[in-house]
C-alpha cells in the first residue's frame, strides 16, 4: 500500500466552495489564520458565507477582508475585541453574530469532528450565554446541551504537511485547527512546507492525513502572517 497524494493548487481547491457555505477558519489572532486562502475567498467573491473562527482578526487583516468585501452573512465566534469593524457591522445588523464561550466553541467543533450530536455542560448556566439552551439532568444536577458544530469546509494553515495531509502546526498556531480538521466535510490546508511521506514521524503527527482532503503549498507568506498591529 501507499498513501494517496492530495497536493494541488489553491485556486482550484477554493473554487469548489459554493456561495452560502459554512466555513471554519483556523487561527487564534494571527497564528494559524489561513490568510492566503482567505484572500482567495475574497478574490473569488464568495457570498453569503457562515464563518466559524475564534476571532475576527483585526481591522485590515484576515477575516476583516471577508467582512469588508461583503462575503459574510453570519459569524460564529468567541471574541471580536480587536476588530472594531466587525463590532460595528454586528451592531448595524450587516452581519449576524453568534457568540460562544471559547472553550465551548472549541468543544462544539470537536464534538462535530467526533461524530457526536452535542455534549452536556454547565458552562455559562448562570449567564445569558446559557439562555435558550436545552436543559437535562445528569446525576441529579441540571446541565445544558451544547450542540455539535460542523462545516462544509475547513481552511487551515499548517507549518508542515506531507503529501497525504499529515500535519504539523507551529507553537500556538495549532489552536482550533486540529479540531476543525475533524469537523468539516472538506478540509483544505495551506502549508508553509510540503514534505515527502515519512518525513513526519508517525508519533509526531498533529492531525492525521485521513482528515485532510487538499494540501496547497504557500511558500511565500503575505505580510499579514507576521504583522501584529497593536
Amino acid at each position: 500500500m501507499r498513501l494517496p497524494d492530495k497536493t494541488g493548487a489553491i485556486e482550484g481547491a477554493i473554487a469548489a466552495i459554493p456561495d452560502g457555505a459554512t466555513i471554519m477558519l483556523g487561527g487564534f489572532g494571527v497564528p494559524g489564520t489561513p490568510f492566503l486562502m482567505i484572500q482567495e475567498l475574497v478574490r473569488q467573491n464568495k457570498r453569503d458565507l457562515t464563518i466559524i473562527k475564534n476571532d475576527a482578526n483585526e481591522t485590515g487583516m484576515g477575516v476583516d477582508h471577508l467582512l469588508v468585501a461583503g462575503c459574510v452573512r453570519r459569524l460564529i465566534t468567541t471574541h471580536l475585541g480587536l476588530n472594531a469593524n466587525a463590532i460595528r457591522m454586528m451592531n448595524e445588523g450587516t452581519i449576524e453574530v453568534e457568540f460562544c464561550a471559547q472553550g465551548m466553541l472549541a468543544e462544539r467543533i470537536r464534538a462535530g469532528g467526533a461524530g457526536l450530536k452535542g455534549f452536556v455542560t454547565d458552562i455559562g448556566i448562570d449567564t445569558e450565554m446559557g439562555r435558550g439552551k436545552q436543559r437535562v439532568e445528569i446525576g441529579g444536577e441540571v446541565a445544558m446541551i451544547e450542540t455539535a458544530l460542523r462545516a462544509d469546509v475547513a481552511l487551515l494553515h499548517a507549518a508542515q504537511a506531507d503529501t497525504f495531509g499529515n500535519l504539523r502546526f507551529a507553537a500556538t498556531a495549532r489552536n482550533f485547527s486540529p479540531l476543525m480538521a475533524m469537523a468539516a466535510d472538506t478540509v483544505i490546508v495551506e502549508a508553509e512546507e510540503i514534505v515527502t511521506l515519512g518525513t513526519i514521524a508517525p508519533e509526531d503527527v498533529h492531525t492525521p492525513g485521513p482528515f485532510v482532503d487538499h494540501v496547497v503549498h504557500v511558500p511565500n507568506l503575505s505580510e499579514e502572517y507576521a504583522v501584529v498591529r497593536r
Binding site: R110, F164, P208, F211
Partner: protein, 217 residues
Amino acid sequence: MSDAKSRMIARAARDIAPGMTVNLGIGLPTQVVNHLPGDFPVCLHTENGLTGIGPTLPHDRADRNLIDAGGAYVSTIPGSAFFDSATSFALVRSGRLDLTMLGAFEVAENGDLANWKIPGKFSPGAGGGMELAQKARRVAVLTTHTDRAGNPKLLTRCTLPLTAAGCVDRIFTDMAVIDVTPAGFALRELAQGVTIEDVKQATGAPLHIPSGAIPTF
C-alpha cells in the same frame, strides 16, 4: 483455507477503491489486504490508533508497541500516523472511514448486523465493532454463507443481539456477492461452480435475482 473462501477474500479486495480509508475487521476481513497490489493507494485504519498500516511482522522483528486492534504485530509505512483512541473513533464516527469490512454471525435482509454476542455462550464485549458498523460510510460483511452446522447466516431477521441496525451494504460469502437493497437481499455475483438455486437454498430470506447474466468470481 478453502479455495472458495480465498476467492471471496480476493473478490472483496476488488471493492476497495483507490484513495479510500478502510478498516478491516478482525478475522477474515484482515486478510483482504493480502489481495491488494503493493502500490495500491489506500489508507488502512485500526481503531487502536494508527492510519497507514504496513505489513504484519513476525514476532522476532516486531515492535512490541505496534499492534493492530486484533493484536497482530503490524508495521508503519511512509505517512503513517499514531493517535489516541478518541481521535481514532472520531475518524470513524465523523464519516472519514470510507469502508469497513466486518465478520458476521447473522445479517438480516434489512441490513441489520449481529456479530458480537451469543447470549449464554459468547459475550466478550463489543469492542470497536459497533461504531465501525454504524458509522463507516460503507459496510461490507465477509462471512461463510452458512454456519458450521449448515444453517443460513443471511436471514429475514437477526435472532442475536444487534451490532447495528440497517448498516450492511454488501455481503461477500463463499457462495455469492449479495447487496442489501430496500427490497431485501439482491444477488450480484456467484462464486465459481455455485448455482442460483444453491444460493437460494443456503439463504434464510428471499433473494432477489436480477434479470440478465450473473457474473462469476
